[in-house]
Symmetry: none
Subunit: 158 residues, 2 copies
Amino acid sequence: MSAATHQSTRQTPHEVFAGYLAANRLKITPQRRLLLDIFLAEPGHVSSEELYAKVKRREPAIGQATVYRTLKLLAECGLAQAVSFADGLTRYEPQFGVEHHDHLICEACGRTIEIVDPVIERRQEELAQRYGFSLARHKMDLYGLCPDCRQDGRKTSR
Amino acid sequence: MSAATHQSTRQTPHEVFAGYLAANRLKITPQRRLLLDIFLAEPGHVSSEELYAKVKRREPAIGQATVYRTLKLLAECGLAQAVSFADGLTRYEPQFGVEHHDHLICEACGRTIEIVDPVIERRQEELAQRYGFSLARHKMDLYGLCPDCRQDGRKTSR
DNA sequence: GTAGCTGCAAACGTTTTGCTGGTTG
DNA sequence: CAACCAGCAAAACGTTTGCAGCTAC
């Protein structure tokens, strides 16, 4: 729990979103509100398609295009951040009030585990300080093989 | 044997590639050799299309599919690494003979310092093992403000 | 009322795949 | 000579865009 950035402004995500929309003369619609809600309820990184599937359960009439467009808006106003895992899919992760995390990624099956290690987090701070940097954020992805894919051992026959 | 973490062996890239192909009963072809050469001559990250264009100048008959397929092979044997910049394009960067390092990046002036911290490296291994993963490689970028940019909000020199 | 929105479907650009003749080991 | 590969073109994939009617402001 080392939330290094305590802001005095305590806007809710919805306020942030509404503010951004208003500032750009865009409109608040039921779809956008719903998408924000469901997006924020997601634990980790979501692809557009995954979000589309979840939203569709509550609002079957919604279209994929709306999901794509809204995710882009969320990224623009800082509520979401686009991350890529080199699997041809763009994923978004909530940036508001969500605990930071890193990724442990299986290169074989694409499975991704979110991890946070206090030792590493602290060490990163120390490292940055050693170089006189003030650290704002970081990104760490570990690539390897998950337990399942290690056992499969489909290669190196003989 | 996923060949991604062979740093101690002094194999040339061509040897690595040939070894990987042989181990999987795949064949060495002129196209694959040419693609490896041109790929290694690239300074940074290349997209499949960029590589295709360059290869085509030397071997006009080559097809895009071959480039895609070969890049995938290079990634499998650890000579290339796929990176995504969230622009809908998969890029590959050469991984051979390059010392691993992480990045400390100034968000104001773009200055980048290459770092390696043994404590973090070791801890990453431990973390992966805890989840049953075998770790092949990782990527860590720390973002913040460098000493110069901390002192004055100027977005100076570089 | 008007600018902006939605859902649909078609368009788009990248990557993959099926096929056939040719090449490697 | 058997397995694998190349090139081609079509398919598949995720994402964007044009449109006509609808909605928030």
